[in-house]
């Protein structure tokens, strides 16, 4: 799993590639919380188009990101969900909780 950050205007776009599971979800969590809490970005956009699998610990990291964004008054946005990540959010009844867009253009225009 690789995660890298791009700054576009007042947003941070985080590009993730590989799979998110128990072996690396703490890293996803740390990166999300750093962007949302420490840096005063107004929006964190998570690009999941390169992610084919997210387990429940990865989902937990996303939920922590969502909570942190609510606390800090910033936005936390997802785009590019492949089948399995979309399904796991759906099964966990969390899909509707997140702002989800198809692609980067839509996410950035939101």
């Amino acid at each position: 799993m690789k995660i890298s950050a791009r700054r576009v205007d007042n947003s941070t776009i985080l590009d993730v590639s590989g799979n998110i599971d128990m072996s690396n979800s703490p890293e996803v969590r740390k990166t999300l919380l750093r962007e949302l809490r420490e840096k005063s970005v107004t929006r964190v956009v998570l690009n999941l188009s390169g992610v084919d699998y997210i387990d429940s610990s990865g989902v937990a990291s996303l939920v922590e990101g969502l909570k942190a964004s609510r606390e800090s008054g910033s936005r936390f946005v997802l785009f590019g969900l492949n089948s399995s990540p979309r399904e796991v959010l759906k099964i966990s009844r969390l899909l509707k909780l997140f702002e989800v867009y198809d692609d980067e253009t839509q996410a950035m225009a939101s």
């Binding site: 599971d21 128990m22 072996s23 429940s56 937990a60 399995s84 759906k90 009844r93 909780l97």
Partner: protein
């Protein structure tokens, strides 16, 4: 594990009986970086067993969550403990048609699972964690925890035509 030693006296395992053929066994340590190896092996195996891509993803999710739980709860994060994954092919006849299925057995040597703790939390609470059991049960036809000698055994079963684990592109999955 004695599981193996007991089953392989002569060093040769023959498929025991029809309708439940041994397919694959994986043996690994309780290191989270090995989760991707299990997923990598199961994906083509389940495709071979004619599960749909959607069912395949559901099975992989269930096994991955179950092994993660063993690593965290049975072994408390220790990285060098043994885990075994057995895959057997199942067949059943329903309405005159033969249905393909899979039985996946997970073994660990941790202390006996306290089954009163095996509770999937209500999904209404929005908080991180506590989703694993929910995912496992929602993905498989049958989920059974059992103590077998000094081992914990988790038995997961799914048939290709089951109604579980599929959540289409639009509909929310019912509980």
């Amino acid at each position: 594990m004695s599981q193996i030693a007991a089953k392989q006296p002569g060093g040769l395992k023959k498929p025991s009986k029809l309708g439940r053929a041994f397919l694959l066994k994986l043996e690994l340590r309780s290191h989270p970086t090995l989760l991707c190896v299990i997923r990598g092996a199961l994906e083509p195996l389940m495709e071979m067993l004619e599960f749909s891509p959607e069912q395949n993803r559901a099975i992989i999710r269930a096994v991955d969550e179950a092994v993660s739980n063993i690593m965290r709860h049975a072994y408390h994060g220790r990285l060098d403990q043994p885990i075994e994954v057995y895959c057997n092919r199942l067949q059943r006849r329903t309405n005159g048609e033969t249905e393909q299925g899979v039985e996946i057995l997970l073994f660990d040597c941790g202390p006996a699972v306290d089954t009163t703790k095996l509770i999937a939390r209500p999904l209404e609470e929005i908080r991180p964690g506590g989703l694993g059991l929910h995912i496992i049960r929602g993905s498989m036809d049958s989920v059974e925890y059992k103590r077998a000698g000094h081992l914990n055994r988790l038995r997961l079963i799914k048939f290709a035509r089951s109604s579980h684990g599929e959540c289409g592109p639009t509909g929310e999955k019912p509980t």
